[in-house]
Symmetry: D4
Subunit: 251 residues, 8 copies
């Protein structure tokens, strides 16, 4: 950002930019104000990532409007999360639109080629955790990562998990997704030496309290190298995995 | 209890027992009322188990008084749980008194010979769980069980646990004791085919919430055959293990 | 498991098995990977119990697929828990399929003969707890146990419970199921000398908090010999009761 | 209150009271303002009860000051609850002062003669609940009630409670005090036909959560006729029992 | 109960009753076992109150069956609480059946004449609390009490409450019903000198947490003489008020 | 209130008002009792504010009845909050009725001219918070305030908020509305020197716990000058902002 | 802030300020970095308020260091909150230092003259709430407000509060401080037409949960115009009251 | 692990290792069993990290014993976390022992040279968060990372944080540490494009609930790329940052 300000100030000194305009420019932020939403068009540059639309709590019209603005400004690949099938239906007009029902994800512009450091593994404790896992996996793919899925490898049948030890130990990030008691994160955390992102899910009943049991379990993991995102937050885990798997962007 | 009543009624019929006395007898309960406590002297017969004194919330004088009454009535083996060292000091006068500091358990009359069906395994996730584990192990021994201790076998280093697979798989009951995320119970539950008693401990900090994380984790165990007792309740686990390991008493 | 490894190693020594293949074999776990689920076919051998399908969070197609694989591998008796009536309807094609609506349990292959040590008693505090109780009772029967049902014997009318004292005192396990204040477990725990498995239910309103009141009450039972499973977890209680009632399997 | 206002207005009409003074009088409330406390001297008249000093959160000096004012105004019998032994020591100067250590209650002016309708029974689940029970019992006695104490009659040994059935069934109010699972209130509630006041105590550990388990249990009592006061609130229970036992005061 | 046992024992002595039969009689409890429910027919005698059917969690068929048995045994006045309009419809066949929609209460046999000591006041903080209040009021009327309703007198407009001071101060019991912050109970508790039964309701939103805010507020009432029942438990409050208002039954 | 009482007392002195009538007058409160509701007609005078109808928990008939009474007594501007579209439909008969669907607010009599000290800013973290924001904004306008809306200025894109620094710093009150982590209130609190009213919303999922995360975050704001209202309580915030923005009414 | 930037830019245009220096100036923030703390010296200008030191979690040395820097920069009036008596002792060297023990507040430079619009009333429910109230009152005085203290006016004795109606109704802000059930805020909220700041305190026991009961009660206040700060946050309430009472600063 | 097994199998084939011994070897895990602890000596190889001793819940003797064993096995650099000053004193005998009091960390063998990809920034909201921050910073340094500390940059004074924008934007990982409302993580998350590890601290009072407010706030961060560790878990954050900053170890 420093160079922008410097250029602007140079313009002020040589008179090509008025003081008033410069002040305005410094204050003016690079987003489009649509009233109900302020679309951030510089984030790609500033944070090295394309914009993602969080679909929950937005109407189909609002989502559609945001897409139109984004496309007009040159954004050709867009991910929409938490997108209900009904809302997805209204977006079919976009020629390059795909919908992933289990993950409730919409995609415009297709997936990019993977360009990350290694592989992201997405593992689940059970079958019921798959929707969250798919949200994580698709997000990671959208962020340019190669993804391996290991589903239904919960700790009550350890051999199912241990049979994949080699894959686990060669991953660059593991996303461990589980409801109920959430022990998967700790067990994987003890097996691998890469970062583990734990995602508690709301799968379970009774004293699972819609994911609290798994959340607390994961926060208290006795294994090192484990961090946690919100309950059912597959997107957050996939996005973060992408960042960890792209350390070169930092230089 | 049926035969007692029958004998009493026979006495009434043959006149050797008056109606009033019989009524009194039926109502009169088999305990000694000390004001602050009602000592149950028939429990040994009724429930096949010697009396245990829960030391917390009782003064040294109260505990001492209860012991005196019990001994006078022929109870020669007594376990006192949650016994502070200070209170234990005041009981040293009992010649056959032993104190187990780590478990905060006092014992009068020594341990019995094991006469249970198999072995009770007491496993802990970490070193800090040992006080609760010792309470469980000593209680189980007091109830006539052979006990094997497996300490510090938490899931973050699975190989420590798996190296004891044979012992685990030949136990008749396993007591799985862990704080933090409490995943030990689920992992053991998936390895063995005997009942597993899970004991959450208050070991941990922050979001362990003094054992709530482990408690919820254990209640939500995805492994079958696991049940749970109160946080830090080593006594309850040891006692229950003894019952499970003595099925013959039922016949 | 020891002998398998030994045989394999013998094959390695005599050259009939290559090192690479042996390594693979040791790592390869005995389950069928269906993508969305990994079916454990050795559990019957390893844990002395047939596979049970947890129906919640699985589609009718997934359940159907798992059944097909199991049957193909010789599993002729299958229990499906948490099975909605709609999903049950799609399983009617299996000739030996039965559906228990109140318990939401599906059964393939009929119930086995009871071969346990004694009787499992399933007691409830009220009428509303019966669905959970039936899940427990049917599971226990599926695991080879004789079951006695005592419904609506809550502590607000103690005489209803006390009139069954003889049955209670001759049971080998009691499953105590109650919502609201969950006091049933403590009262039964004080009457019997066999293990008591307490199941809190979500029956109640207001400060019952969907079963939390009963759960906490049961965890704090002042009676010894009581352990607790998850809220509404009839299956877990029935399964554990079966293990306790079959101690001979251990030898 | 009606007649006071009427007299005042009569005074206004006949000119013996100025309008300003009458307005002041109507607004002026019958209490002594000591800055840190406003002592209510009319409560005895208005609510038929002597003033009680809640000792917690007040310094010894503040308590002493309040007593002095009360006595000066003719209040000769005063109860001080939650009074630490140290503060009690500073009140020894009052010649008619008594201190009940277990209940942490101070009393000035001695106990009145009982003049209530029947007997108030104070029952506890265990020995550790006695301090709360004594607070309840002494308060009830201070409010003019005959009190019977039944301590250590918890539901894990039902016969201890049932042996007192006759006393329970002839009480006019029962105060049921218990920590841990708090089942005592429900069981007593099912036995008697008088109001039952349940007092959860903070006795217990782990998932008793300092009385929450007992509190929830009691709020969800399946027995009718049970109401609940705050955790450890022996005073509140004793006071309310006194009101219930003195219905004649209402006429 | 004493005289029954005595008569029985006399029969045993004179040979008119066999020992076996007497034993059976002592054990046999006075209820009808319908499988899904055990109907208590002696409660009226034992507890001086007619049976009430808790409708929630029972099917229309179960409720209907219980009514049939009760009527056959001479119970001619029955209250059914938590009765959905749909279930109520199926009970229209009973000629003397009335349904109170707001309170979700069904009544068979009409209301009795009030025979209590004084008046029960049912007060609510707002309009939305009326359904719970009607449950309380109708229950109290069913238990033989005269009831006065004071609705929408919440503390945010104190004058609405204070305008009824005279009625409040002459009541024998006040039931204070409020959601949101539940302050009504404390304010009334400070005005009256009769017992106050506080009923928190689930009225409110956000941090009212379905009645928890009101529940906690009421449990912590700084006014003496207040006790609390479960959230939305209008029945429990009405029933208890009836007991307090009928102290003569005790003699 | 003082002058009313004074006038009345003067009337008593000069005999134009009888003592009985005066007493009645003093006690009689200025509201209309409709049974299900007590409408406060003097609040406008007493609290300088028109009556608002809280629509939740009231039937369309009840709301309609209250409006009729209010209008008959001269209240020509009425706000109805938490008004469902269905209920709103039934109020269309009122000629001057408007309905704001997003805010679920009904309005009779139109908005007044703003007459407050400065501008009230209503800011939201995201698009999903807009319904709560509109409730706040419309309420503030109804109370005579000029309102500026700043929507979707959450802290994850600080520049969107900072671009409005000038507006924020010249406001007389800021209402900061956010779900999820609720950080908006703290950040705004650090930027402005006017009072900030924080409104947590139930927007979010998982560990947002329906607004608890935002509520706690806001209560713990490290910025000074921030206070909090209930989750989703847009009305409360708008009303309070109006009071702060009208300090002249106090004189 | 606008004019500063403008001046700077003018300097750049006329060459008196280099581009590099201007950029630095824009970025450089007006605080002193002491390593463990960054002292904000411009806040007085930016937010119209002197700096306050939050003493909790800072060592006496750290506090002393901050005071030295502040004084060196011309800050001659400093408030230190949450200051333990021990730490206060070490600050006695400052000649103009005062310590208010009950409020745990230190003050350097004395109190300013009140220059606010009206009076701030600080009211408490009981005597135990006074420490929090004094923190609020002293903070408000420090911020230039006239303060009236009304202590021990809890709702259980309404007349104590109502006797101060006139004062309450002429206040410009009321701070309502209460523990236990926290009803004071609602009752005051219904009496006054100025903003009410509610402060829950941790005073109470059992189900007060260290202030949660009062907090929830206040958040759910049925009175309008009430907002809430953190438990025991007297400082926050006093500071906010000062802002509300100084609306002229905005122009 | 693969090559070890392969070597062993090769030994079996050529007869240098017996089958029995090989089986034993495979099962035998590479740790030293000290009874109270099982020290993992292969973790360095297996997970690329030296062993760390978690000091809480271990006695000084236990810690000392573990150090002795580790050193004997060639471990020359050891970190001990949660080490009380008293226990630290007993370790002074180790010549190369250092103690960091604020962080409660003990170090044997000195810090290694940084060899990570970039810089780890450790930022705190306030001064009171520094102990947790130092635990994180020292751990990260121990794991071979260059660390920059930014303390007291909380969001209530945004300019303090924004003045470090350049440093933040060039970090490879940021650890955001805050108590109270925990907003720091979201604000930083919106500024940077590297992974952010959020650490809630128990700093705060009242409704901070010992870190729960910050924990929930961080879990609900509206910024992407943020994950969370346990309350006060500086070690976990520092360790994980090290893993993220050393992606090359994966290849």
């Amino acid at each position: 950002m420093g160079s922008d300000i410097r250029a602007l100030l140079a313009g002020v000194r040589d008179g090509s930019v008025s003081i008033e305009e410069a002040e305005l420019q410094i204050r003016r932020e690079p987003f489009v104000d649509m009233g109900f939403a302020k679309i951030d068009l510089h984030r790609k540059i500033r944070q090295g990532q394309a914009e993602v639309i969080y679909g929950a709590g937005k109407t189909a019209e609002q989502i559609s409007g945001i897409i139109t603005v984004m496309k007009a400004r040159g954004q050709d690949r867009i991910l929409i999360t938490r997108l209900d099938p009904e809302k997805a239906e209204t977006l079919r007009g976009n020629t390059d639109f795909e919908y992933f029902g289990q993950a409730r994800i919409g995609l415009i512009g297709g997936m990019p080629e993977p360009d990350g450091l290694g592989t992201v593994i997405v593992a689940t404790g059970g079958t019921s955790d798959i929707p969250v896992a798919e949200e994580a996996a698709l997000t990671a793919e959208y962020c340019g990562n190669k993804v391996t899925r290991l589903y239904d490898v919960g700790v009550a049948g350890l051999h199912r998990l241990l049979s994949h030890s080699d894959e686990l130990m060669s991953a660059s990030v593991v996303i461990a997704i589980a409801g109920m008691e959430g022990a998967l994160a700790s067990v994987i955390g003890g097996l691998v030496d890469c970062p583990v992102i734990a995602v508690p899910t709301s799968v379970g009943y009774g004293a699972s309290f819609h994911g609290i049991a798994a959340l607390l379990s994961m926060l208290n993991s006795c294994a090192s190298g484990v961090s946690v995102v919100n309950i059912d937050n597959g997107f957050g885990a996939g996005f973060l995995a992408g960042r960890i798997n792209h350390p070169m962007r930092l230089s």
